[in-house]
Symmetry: C2
Subunit: 211 residues, 2 copies
Amino acid sequence: MNIITIGRQFGSGGRELGKRLADTLGYDYYDREIITAIAETSGMNAAYVEKALDSSDWRNYNFTFMHSFSMESVMQSEKVKLLSEQRHVIDGIAAAGKDCVIVGRNADILLERYHPFSIFVCADLDARIKRCEERSTEEEHLSRRQLEQNIRRIDKNRALSREIISEKKWGDAASYDLVVNTTGWDLKELTAAVSEFAVKFFNRKDHSIQS
Amino acid sequence: MNIITIGRQFGSGGRELGKRLADTLGYDYYDREIITAIAETSGMNAAYVEKALDSSDWRNYNFTFMHSFSMESVMQSEKVKLLSEQRHVIDGIAAAGKDCVIVGRNADILLERYHPFSIFVCADLDARIKRCEERSTEEEHLSRRQLEQNIRRIDKNRALSREIISEKKWGDAASYDLVVNTTGWDLKELTAAVSEFAVKFFNRKDHSIQS
């Protein structure tokens, strides 16, 4: 079984690259499906689940005090439950044994024992802002400054949510098998380049020994 | 003209990958040749030139005081001269107009206007220590702890020497076009994967517009 995990800077095109990789290689694709699965199991709204998992305000929470009964502790324990559920869902995807691409959710860390091909997707800030502008609807028109703030905030939260479970820092070059910068690429052409790299990764000598 | 630049963590195999890429693609290869050229022009010993360029002790030097006549200022101005000479040598390589691979010396920054394919090569710490052990001679046998200290010191100096000339941080994922982790790869197989990626990079639609 081959697993490709995609971490990404917001606005870099990582999700699109992941989808295209899955299509090209004939792999299953998981992205929002994970949130939906958690929402179904927990009986919560998918948007709420996503917001709770991606927020960073629980980072400084001291887990040893989780037995206290403040409102905060109730919320924190809910997040801990959601994280645990997320791990369960992602484990389930891997246990199904089918080749797949998983976008986000620190799947490379959670599935380390399966030796996934872990990719991080990034792009220059200008390219990311442009991509966000193109995707935004007319009603939600944001200024360049607002878009930049959004990008920084979301990326910061992604970095923090990774910090909780791993020493491999988010966005640090050495934390991944491959980092690709999408700036200046047509994503279709980039997909061809990355998918060929992935095939070589899974076929390399050492991989057959490890897994 | 296609230029590939290689930044690398110490012990990651970046130099070997660069040499193999040049051989595979039929490109010229520059590494220690740059130091040799600077040494020849400046009339200094190559080992001294390399040490001076790679040391970090001049980082906090305040350039506005360079006209003072302390011993320190003489040494600093020597380093500034060497850096300027390095830029001159690297500019000369690019001006020659031949496809090439340049290892180290922040060539990706110095030659940004040529749109090089900038690669950063890294590896897990254990893999890097192992590579250093394999390369070291019996006389210079270093403990694991000493090797790790060496690796950290050299990488720190590389990061600092980049910081002087660019906001693109050394080893930061988004500072390069491609980051490859050599851990678990046979470098020959990895070279094939990276060279095919490089060919696609130079053939991509946007590149023909940019350069």
